[in-house]
């Protein structure tokens, strides 16, 4: 039993460490303030919860573990509130989650990235045209056509609608 608890606490601690590292990496690597908030939110909930649970299992039931639970619950609820408040103040301060905020050199970088993305897209399109993906395209087109046919077949009009349509046809010419 004790061995099982030790293993379980070790696994939980490892999971929490992984969550912390991934969140910190996202904090450094992501391009935008709001995406960074997203990364920190994961770090503050998953990382804290897993590591606190791991320490709880290691300790067993005592006053220390109760205090640990208090820390974990407090952090689990207040950290998302804090990140949400940061996002709200930033949004009211004029930052939009839909646009990047290029400052100085990053503007040039963003422009270069856009050009590179366009070029790569063109390459992919050319490859698709020349490659053997025509069959796949045909299949998809056939499927769409079949679906349309099925849809037109299954739609049964009520008599009133039929009359309306007939009236429109008569009146049109």
């Amino acid at each position: 039993m004790e061995l099982l608890l030790a293993w379980l606490s070790g696994i939980l601690l490892a999971l929490g460490t992984i969550a912390l590292l991934v969140g910190a990496l996202g904090l450094v690597r992501l391009p935008n303030l709001f995406s960074r908030i997203h990364a920190v939110g994961m770090m503050d909930t998953a990382g804290v919860a897993f590591i606190t649970l791991g320490m709880l299992l290691h300790e067993g039931f005592s006053l220390i573990s109760v205090k640990l639970a208090v820390v974990g619950i407090f952090l689990f609820f207040t950290s998302p509130i804090a990140t949400h408040a940061v996002a709200q103040v930033a949004y009211k301060g004029g930052f939009s989650p839909l646009e990047q905020q290029p400052v100085g050199k990053t503007k040039v970088k963003a422009a270069k990235r856009k050009v590179a993305q366009k070029a790569s897209r063109k390459k992919v399109g050319a490859a698709e045209k020349t490659g053997a993906k025509k069959a796949v395209v045909k299949k998809i087109a056939n499927k769409i056509l079949a679906g349309k046919k099925a849809a037109t077949k299954t739609v049964t009009r009520t008599p009133a609608e039929k009359q309306k349509k007939a009236a429109v046809k008569k009146g049109a010419p």
């Binding site: 590292l21 920190v40 503050d44 207040t78 804090a82 940061v86």
Partner: protein, 100 residues
């Protein structure tokens, strides 16, 4: 053993967050990273206590959690209103001193 690994992970994550503090283009980025560092310090204090065989350090981490939360909100209020008083930045100029 896993505790030491977790403490090392906390340290690495703290360094990464410090990079964001140094580089962050906006003050909100810096505040976010500082908040994350505070959370990591809380975990680190608790883990350090367990590793050293003195789990009473958890008390300190409770205190630090509260201070971290309130500090984040204080800095946010300073950003959004320009002051920490009742009426934000305008609290400094009272009507008496303004007229007299």
């Amino acid at each position: 053993m896993m505790m030491i690994v977790a403490l090392a992970g906390c340290g690495v994550a703290m360094v990464l967050a410090l990079v964001r503090v140094a580089r962050g283009p906006t003050p909100f980025d810096r505040l976010l990273a500082v908040n994350a560092i505070g959370t990591l310090v809380i975990l680190g204090v608790a883990l350090h206590g367990f590793i050293m065989g003195r789990p009473e350090f958890v008390d300190i981490s409770i205190l630090y959690a509260v201070i971290n939360f309130i500090g984040t909100f204080a800095i946010l209020k300073l950003f959004s209103t320009g002051g920490l008083g009742d009426r934000g930045g305008k609290a400094r100029i009272t009507p008496e001193t303004d007229e007299g």
